[in-house]
């Protein structure tokens, strides 16, 4: 009865209402992320002002940029008083910035090929899903790249490579009986092969020869990449050995490693480059003349290795001691327990640190410009800025150098973050 007296009874549910405009979509996001409190309002306005002033300052300079001119005065004539960049310098001096000013221009295809092949050689190391067979190419690559960049007859790297192959074969063959015997026979066999191969090379110097380019003709960004890649590739194994040495319970080995690491880490790289440039010659026999580039590579390798050793030591220390004890209780000897149990885990922990160190190394290759080698920065500061036609074009050149380094270093650090996620086994 009462039912009928009711003025109104709803039979179905009302349509769901949309949340108020302040609680959805863009408005909600803006309220929560940009204007949530008076302080945040001020910060947002300040940031917008910073962004605006940067864009307002750079945009006309960038958009008005002149790409075709022969000298900085031409640029000013074309701009006719307006603000604008003189990007023409990048266009005109592009080969110098990338290859240096002495590398023969007909041979630019060689470093180009070497860089492209480098990507292929790195791929199986960087991406673990690729077939393991590709690693063979990574092994051959250093010798191939040497031939491509320095030129000369391919017999030199071929002999060097075969020497390594024979040495390793002999080591494998004889180390089954005794480790030391295998190592000694391996080294002797490789050396005999290199000496014999040396005669073959001397006799056939023109066989398939590319135009030889001496080290001092390397320059530009190519030199940065060259120094960075070689120093990084050599310093990672050396750094791991140093870290193991520092953790070793043999006091003499331990102290040699500690002294080396602490000494190198205690001095700036620039003093080590001075050593390479000026005083290393005093410590070598008078008749030897080692390339400056090689001396610099040695110093950079030592420098980077000391830092990598500290990173790896951190990784080794972070492993719970149960892992070491488990390896021992399985009856594994030192090298096996390190290879199969300790290092895979320790290196995984140290990946971010190792990559940071290596990016640092790549950035530090610019320091060679101070000992008057003509890398990217050295080219800009030396031949380009001091030339009469491009005197005073600072921003365009340094901006380009900064951009190149940013692209390379940023992608390397992004890769390391990706790798970290890939290797995460999420068992803790």
């Amino acid at each position: 009865m009462a039912k009928n007296n009711a003025a109104f009874v709803r039979h179905q549910l009302i349509e769901e209402q949309a949340p108020p405009i302040t609680e959805r979509g863009v408005v909600k996001w803006v309220r929560e992320n940009l204007f949530s409190s008076p302080f945040n309002v001020i910060m947002t306005l300040l940031s917008l002002w910073v962004i605006y002033s940067i864009i307002a300052g750079v945009a006309p300079w960038f958009i008005n940029g002149v790409w075709n001119a022969n000298s900085v005065r031409d640029c000013y004539d074309i701009l006719d008083g307006a603000t604008g960049a003189c990007f023409a310098v990048l266009k005109e001096r592009f080969p110098q910035l990338i290859y240096g000013f002495k590398y023969p221009s007909t041979e630019y295809w060689r470093p180009n090929t070497a860089v492209i092949l480098l990507l292929f050689a790195l791929a199986p190391i960087l991406f673990r899903k690729l077939p393991r067979k590709f690693l063979l190419f990574s092994l051959i690559y250093p010798f191939l790249a040497y031939w491509l960049i320095w030129g000369g007859t391919p017999l030199v790297p071929v002999v060097a490579f075969l020497g390594f192959v024979i040495g390793i074969y002999c080591f494998r063959r004889f180390s089954a009986n005794a480790f030391a015997l295998g190592a000694i026979i391996g080294v002797i066999a490789a050396n005999i092969f290199w000496v014999l191969g040396g005669y073959v090379v001397d006799a056939n110097e023109t066989f398939l020869a590319l135009q030889a380019v001496p080290s001092r003709d390397m320059g530009g960004f190519m030199l940065n990449i060259l120094l960075g890649t070689i120093a990084v590739a050599l310093s990672i194994p050396l750094g791991i050995l140093l870290a193991l040495g520092r953790k070793s319970n043999m006091p003499i080995i331990k102290w040699i490693c500690v002294l080396f690491i602490e000494f190198i880490r205690g001095v700036p790289l620039i003093t080590l480059l001075f050593v390479a440039n000026v005083i290393l010659a005093f410590f070598l026999p008078p008749e030897t003349s080692i390339d400056l580039i090689l001396r610099v590579i040695v110093m950079m390798t030592f420098f980077n290795a000391a830092y990598i050793a500290e990173v790896v030591r951190g990784g080794l220390a972070a492993l719970p001691s149960g892992q070491y004890e488990a390896a021992n209780s399985l009856g594994l000897d030192y090298s096996k327990s390190m290879r199969f149990i300790i290092l895979p885990q320790a290196l995984k922990i140290s990946i971010p640190g190792i990559v940071n160190t290596c990016v640092g190394m790549l950035k530090d290759t610019t320091l060679v410009s101070i000992i008057s080698m003509f890398d990217l920065v050295g080219m800009i500061r030396g031949p380009i800025l001091s030339s009469t036609s491009w005197n005073g074009v600072y921003w365009e050149l340094f901006g380009a150098a900064a951009t190149i380094f940013f692209v390379v270093c940023f992608s390397v650090s992004k890769y390391s973050q990706w790798l970290e996620r890939q290797l995460e086994t999420s068992n803790r």
């Binding site: 005794a178 205690g266 050593v275 600072y394």
Partner: protein, 404 residues
């Protein structure tokens, strides 16, 4: 007994030096030591032979000779008649100056950027991560050169400040930004200034005492004493009172344009400024990352527990989060300070005369004493590094979690 000993003796064979774990480590070490000695002896022999062939010797006598070159940025008296040793001291002080300035500004920048990167304001957080990524991924040498370009290409030369209608003018008549560097007013300490400075130091000590007393009250009686306003008052009032009571004994010496250059005031060369700023913003980007990681490393449960105890947000930060975050932040922070000191050797690129520029640069080139100069240079940096890491170890031990 004797038989067992002799039987053990019999069992030792030469091959055990390689194959027995107990003895193998001795073989390895002896071998490593032997190789090391051989290498050192070989290098030493070459050095002696090369020096003899070149008619050189190792001698540090050159340090006492007159240097014959000028240094235009210096903290102590120096002229071209001074010795090379004094030039090296000028360089050391210049290195320490730029390292000190760089550490302070890098810390301020890094902490600000690190905290702002965690801000809930989207645009601020993004802006800060752009700052961090851009500055971390470009070599510091390029930053030094870019900032130095401002002095070379943008700022006016001192002569632009001349005349009735100068092209450039000084900021508040105090600061002159020129292509040669920055001129700033210099404090002049007249008679009685000691009292003012003394009062200032005393009031700072009083502030520390006050805060200590407040903390003591908080811990012992649970009473919260507001220290902000009393501290500010202590900081300002006594010093200002004494300053005017003694008739302004500390004045300012303004830089003035005389002839074609500025005279008076504090002069900082473009090289110093660009080195200082580049090192600060570069290292600041790294510090920002460390600060961010440190704050994130504090478990959220800690914040929630503190809030559940009824602490207000700034107490949560000061009493709970920061002490734990600092344990993560400080060790890398100190190694970044070390990096600033070592990277200050890049002064060479902008003509700032630090120790690398004096001892490792002009002195080396003038005297040709490469080995001696570079050894001294390395020794200086080693002492600084080892000193700072010793301090760091002491600090680490003091803040280590007291367990067990």
């Amino acid at each position: 007994m004797s038989t067992s000993i002799s039987s053990e003796r019999e069992t030792f064979r030469l091959s055990m030096l390689l194959n027995d774990k107990r003895y193998r480590s001795y073989t390895f070490q002896a071998f490593a030591l032997f190789v090391l000695i051989c290498v050192v002896a070989y290098l030493g022999k070459n050095l002696v032979e090369n020096l003899a062939a070149a008619g050189l010797n190792i001698s540090y006598g050159f340090l006492g000779e007159a240097s014959g070159y000028d240094i235009n940025q210096r903290l102590i008296e120096y002229s071209s008649q001074s010795s090379h040793l004094r030039a090296a001291f000028v360089g050391i002080l210049n290195t320490l100056l730029v390292a000190f300035l760089g550490c302070i500004t890098a810390t301020i920048l890094g902490i600000t950027a690190g905290i702002l990167r965690l801000s809930n304001n989207w645009i601020v957080a993004k802006l800060m991560s752009i700052y961090v990524e851009i500055f971390r991924n470009v070599p510091v040498l390029i930053w030094i050169l870019i900032i130095n370009s401002i002095f070379l290409a943008v700022l006016p030369q001192p002569r632009a400040f001349k005349g009735e209608n100068p092209e450039a003018s000084m900021l508040w008549d105090m600061f002159a930004f020129t292509g040669r560097g920055i001129y700033a007013p210099k404090p002049l300490f007249l008679e009685g200034s000691v009292v003012v400075v003394g009062t200032f130091i005393l009031s700072i000590l009083a502030i520390f005492a006050l805060r200590r007393y407040a903390r003591h009250k908080l811990y012992s009686e649970g009473r919260l004493i507001n220290t902000l306003w009393p501290s500010l008052a202590l900081f300002v009032i006594p010093t200002v009172l004494i300053f005017y009571a003694l008739g302004s004994p500390i004045g300012l010496e303004y830089p003035e344009l005389k002839g074609f250059n500025f005279k008076g005031g504090i002069y900082a060369r473009g090289g110093l400024i660009s080195l200082w700023f580049a090192l600060s913003i570069y290292t600041g980007a790294f510090i920002a990352e460390v600060v961010r990681a440190g704050i994130l490393s504090v478990n959220e449960g800690q914040t929630e527990a503190a809030a559940a105890l009824g602490l207000r947000p700034n107490f949560v930060m000061n009493l709970v989060v920061l002490p734990q975050a600092l344990r993560v932040i400080v060790p890398p922070l100190i190694s970044f300070y070390l990096n600033i000191t070592k990277n200050s050797s890049l002064a060479l690129a902008v003509g700032y005369m630090d120790i690398t520029g004096t001892l490792g640069g002009i002195t080396l080139n003038q005297t040709g004493r490469a080995i001696e100069a570079i050894l001294l240079l390395m020794l200086f940096y080693l002492i600084i590094s080892l000193g700072i890491s010793a301090i760091m170890n002491i600090y680490n031990r003091s803040i280590m979690l007291k367990e067990r």
